[in-house]
């Protein structure tokens, strides 16, 4: 048998066994009629899903709270830094004026109100 004959034999038309089409159609119909078993129909799965959602909500709330606290902390430090800086600069200005005045008159000290 040469290659050509072997190919012809291998690719020959072969009829399905008796009743093959009927069996396939019957099995497909049986599967379509079977009740579906979605996950949410199981009480434990439903409970697990609710619990997961609750955990997510709590975690998101805690994360948001943490973010708010960190923001508040940074803003408080900034506000105190600016307020303290302005007060500090005012003190420097007063001291500078007093020092200049003392240098001019040969005195030290003086009132805080200076203009």
């Amino acid at each position: 048998m040469n290659l050509k004959d072997e190919l012809r034999w291998a690719m020959r038309r072969e009829e399905p066994p008796e009743g093959f089409a009927e069996r396939v159609l019957a099995r497909a119909a049986a599967q379509a009629d079977a009740p579906t078993r979605q996950w949410w129909r199981f009480p434990r799965m439903r409970l697990a899903a609710v619990a997961a959602c609750a955990v997510l909500v709590v975690l998101a709330g805690a994360g948001y709270r943490q973010w708010q606290g960190e923001t508040a902390r940074q803003r408080a430090l900034l506000a105190l830094g600016i307020a303290g800086g302005d007060l500090h600069t005012t003190q420097l200005r007063v001291r500078h004026i007093l020092a200049a005045r003392a240098g001019a008159t040969g005195e030290t000290g003086g009132p805080m109100e200076t203009r």
Binding site: V50, V57, R73, A76, L80, D86
Partner: protein
């Protein structure tokens, strides 16, 4: 099930503090002329929250925590102007007028050339219960308001940590470091 979700929703809402802000100044007339603005406003709830997040282990944060202990609100406004003379002395006077005189007293007024600093305090029963600074420069205006008891020495020292050198002795202070 509905009740569970309602309870979760109520708990998450309770975790969010109210964002009410308190600043007694109306500085719209200044803001309208400013090129840049820094606005930091902290109400009582935010300050309490900040206090919880300030670490007692870090020096500057523990100082901040002790400073904030008696503070009810902080309001900081820094305005920067494109050119000199954008705000007038009248504008500045309108800011001062918002601190009512019987309660508020100007304890310091330092003026050098075009720059001035004024410190106001509100005192009740011998304790400082309010503090305000109005610092004016040709192209900048700083307004700070703190409601509540605060230690001014500590606050100044705290401000000195932010890049400003310590206050030199009067005879050594020939030039203001700005």
């Amino acid at each position: 099930m509905k009740r569970t979700w309602l309870a979760i929703l109520a708990l998450s809402c309770a975790a969010v503090p109210l964002g009410a802000q308190t600043c007694p100044f109306n500085l719209d007339h200044i803001a309208a002329k400013a090129k840049e603005l820094v606005d930091v406003t902290l109400d009582s709830a935010t300050l309490q929250l900040a206090g919880k997040f300030l670490s007692s282990g870090k020096t500057n944060e523990s100082e901040a925590k002790s400073l904030l202990a008696g503070v009810k609100a902080i309001c900081v406004r820094n305005y920067e102007f494109a050119k000199e003379g954008e705000y007038t002395p009248d504008d500045l006077q309108r800011v001062r007028n918002q601190l009512p005189q019987p309660q508020w007293n100007r304890i310091v007024h330092a003026q050098e050339k075009n720059e001035s600093s004024e410190v106001f305090t509100r005192t009740e029963g011998g304790r400082i219960t309010g503090f305000a600074v109005i610092a004016a420069e040709p192209k900048e205006l700083h307004v700070v308001y703190i409601d509540g008891a605060i230690d001014l020495d500590k606050l100044s020292r705290f401000g000195g940590q932010f890049g400003i050198p310590p206050i030199p002795a009067p005879d050594a202070a020939r030039k203001p470091s700005k």
